[in-house]
Symmetry: C3
Amino acid sequence: MMELQCKEIAAMVGGVCLGDENRLIHSPAKIEDAGAHQISFLANPKYLVHLDQCLAGALIVDHRLELPFLPSQTTIIKVADAYSSFSLILQAFQSEPVYHDGVHPQSTVDPTAVLGENVGIGPYSVVSLKVKIGAGCRIASQVYIGSGVHIGENCILHPGVRVLDGCQIGDRCILYANAVIGSDGFGYAPDKDQVYAKIPQTGIVILGNDVEVGANATIDRATMGATTVGDGCKIDNLVHLAHNVELGAHSVIAAQTGISGSTKVGEKCVFGGQVGVAGHIQIAPGSQIGGQTGVTHTIKDANRKWNGTPIMPYMDNQRSNALFRKLPQLESDLLAEIQSLKEAYTTLAREFEKAKA
Amino acid sequence: MMELQCKEIAAMVGGVCLGDENRLIHSPAKIEDAGAHQISFLANPKYLVHLDQCLAGALIVDHRLELPFLPSQTTIIKVADAYSSFSLILQAFQSEPVYHDGVHPQSTVDPTAVLGENVGIGPYSVVSLKVKIGAGCRIASQVYIGSGVHIGENCILHPGVRVLDGCQIGDRCILYANAVIGSDGFGYAPDKDQVYAKIPQTGIVILGNDVEVGANATIDRATMGATTVGDGCKIDNLVHLAHNVELGAHSVIAAQTGISGSTKVGEKCVFGGQVGVAGHIQIAPGSQIGGQTGVTHTIKDANRKWNGTPIMPYMDNQRSNALFRKLPQLESDLLAEIQSLKEAYTTLAREFEKAKA
Amino acid sequence: MMELQCKEIAAMVGGVCLGDENRLIHSPAKIEDAGAHQISFLANPKYLVHLDQCLAGALIVDHRLELPFLPSQTTIIKVADAYSSFSLILQAFQSEPVYHDGVHPQSTVDPTAVLGENVGIGPYSVVSLKVKIGAGCRIASQVYIGSGVHIGENCILHPGVRVLDGCQIGDRCILYANAVIGSDGFGYAPDKDQVYAKIPQTGIVILGNDVEVGANATIDRATMGATTVGDGCKIDNLVHLAHNVELGAHSVIAAQTGISGSTKVGEKCVFGGQVGVAGHIQIAPGSQIGGQTGVTHTIKDANRKWNGTPIMPYMDNQRSNALFRKLPQLESDLLAEIQSLKEAYTTLAREFEKAKA
């Protein structure tokens, strides 16, 4: 078990200790759960309510946050930015996944494969013909790497990952368990009787550097050319990217979202979960797409928020949703207004007839 | 092949035979498909229509259900509760998956791992450092169990399951093929240029007793602490539970639903398929969420039905949906009413002017 | 690397060469990406804009398409149908996945299993009791085939596929990486306290001929009888078919769609991505269901287009969606009309009172 003194932690994040700087910390925890040997953090004033019953051994506190009092059993570590400091501390306490060092004797590595320095390959993994794996990669157990695949340096492939023939992966990528890279695109040509014949999928998948692909996610190979994922993209579990999708650098896609074939996504887009994106469209850089949105057409304006199926500008969707909720009320209000106008008119018309007479 | 006489089946479920009690039954079937050596059941009066052409060798019939006649070639077994009786019969005819007894020589079990009595481990499975596996567990082939994982008694882990470092699993759990327990949570901190850095995910996943997790489903480890699934929860295929989700006991989640990070779900909730749930919210116990619903905010009232995106009380959603369907009609009706009022007013105003003149 | 002369390609597709028929082609590419040794195609007039800057070595051109000029560095191959010709060319250049020939010594094949001629089984695959695998099947590595499974001829099972006990697979099927066939259906019976007990799932899955199942897709076994997928069905990644679903021949299902238990789908239906289908309903043959649709009830009329949640005829849904988008405008327009009528009425009534006086 990892163990650090508060002063060591403070030094690590450039912070200042208030209270016992020798206190020992074993692990990070949420402020409401933390015990005597745990460290938590306070950045958002709304979490100050937890301070009263805080039992944490240490608290990372944002320097902009004023504490109403100093808890006696807690060492306070003041820092410039609580979020990024705490991320460093999490890193310090994180235990790396324990995968095999070196090539496990129960793996199958083709003699034509080229492995860099310090590559680990776990039991029951397969490394096929002419594969190249860069230095420092950790290939866990039960992984399949197809022929001609190139993998950069310091990647982690978790158990059950499949990278199929010819795909290319950059440096420092992480592929989580059972992710599938390079399965055939979903392309079929219907004949006149609507019987479908498979269109061969001759392309590959190219992942840039620092890409992460979630557990059980799938990225299909291109029909021709490449399905591409730009540097720094983060893709959550169970996401699907279809053939020939091009995903711009530093885009982020939450779980269970699917992007259809040949769609091009700009840089730094953010997708909520369960978004569906039509094929053959473009999405402008910096677009933010809310969860469950159905992106039915091209988005031209960059850096805007979108929501709804079919997709609308976020605020317009909010307004339409608000009216959808009260549609029954709106209908009956409008009908009542019209009815009362009708009655008023009838009364007036009758009185007018009377007056004429 | 399993073979039971009708009287043996009747004894098994505490039922009473009408007809040939020595008839042999080989397997269960649906009433419309069942043949001479098959058994089916009748609980719901609407299935009485099938009685006429029923060829089943035996029928489990709910004692509350009056049969219009007794089919000559079918043994009737009257029971107190047809559903639960038939479930017992299914159990009797079910063939357990055939997985390896004992530790297969082609598996890799770390010497520090502790296995209970009668644990089976199939070929190409990996059991890592300091794992504990309780008595009676069936670990199929090609399973990965990470270091420090604890698994209770009598669990079944189907082929390709991944349980990653440190996760804890209760008794009698079933993890279906290719499910992934304990992949990293989807946590990244954007810098000022919106380039994302990974936030270490230091927590674990804890599954209670009698939990089932579907094929290709994913449950992510917590950033800190634990993602927890309460006793008796049933989770369908391709479901995603994000980091730090807490799922109350005996909740049921249908396929392809996703729950975002840190959301707390009460006990005995029921989720339809493809539901999306926002992060950092609470869902009251006994909530019933319809398929494809988007749960965008906290649900405070227990035991209610919800639907729609964004979520609404079920009946309100039905009413709004009904009006959505007839929006074009509603618009034209209202415009016609207004137009006819305008015309009536114009006529009246003209007549009034004439009268004045 | 594959290499073909333009005249060889022309012969292959029954086409006519204009330009250098000896030019060597190495691979197919999209028209905007193709280089001097690549071949592309032109079928749709809207892609003629790319002709100007086309660097392709060869172009398959539909005979109905008139080219404004002949690019000097490109051999034109005129054909009767550009799409189907190009599919043939893709096939010629496609490299088959490189899986093991014969039975790999590091696989586990039960002695009771029966393998046809030329069956390949990759490392770390498991073939259980009494399995039958037809001639020409390619079983990749890390595949699990449960006891009693029957697989037809010339199937491909990619790495990590799981076919569980008793399931049956036709000829020429392709199961992509990590697909799971025959996991237990999601069936539980709640007791009076809403604690769920598992209903045994005693049935199987039957796939017809020429079926393809995408990466990480799941098809559950029936409670009794069989979940069936008809001949020629194409199922994309991450799709879920629940227990006792019956899918008609030549139906096509895009990624992340889910079909609930016991639903029967007719022949030649087409499902977009992320569609959700309720249980125990029927869908008429030839139905076309748009992406993200929620199919809440039986569809009786064949060959129609549907959209929306809850499902509506496609054009009706388009019209309602159009009004949903302008609901705020519609509300304020209607209120303004009513307000102006009220004012007109008030003025008239006041004048009338004045006149009477």
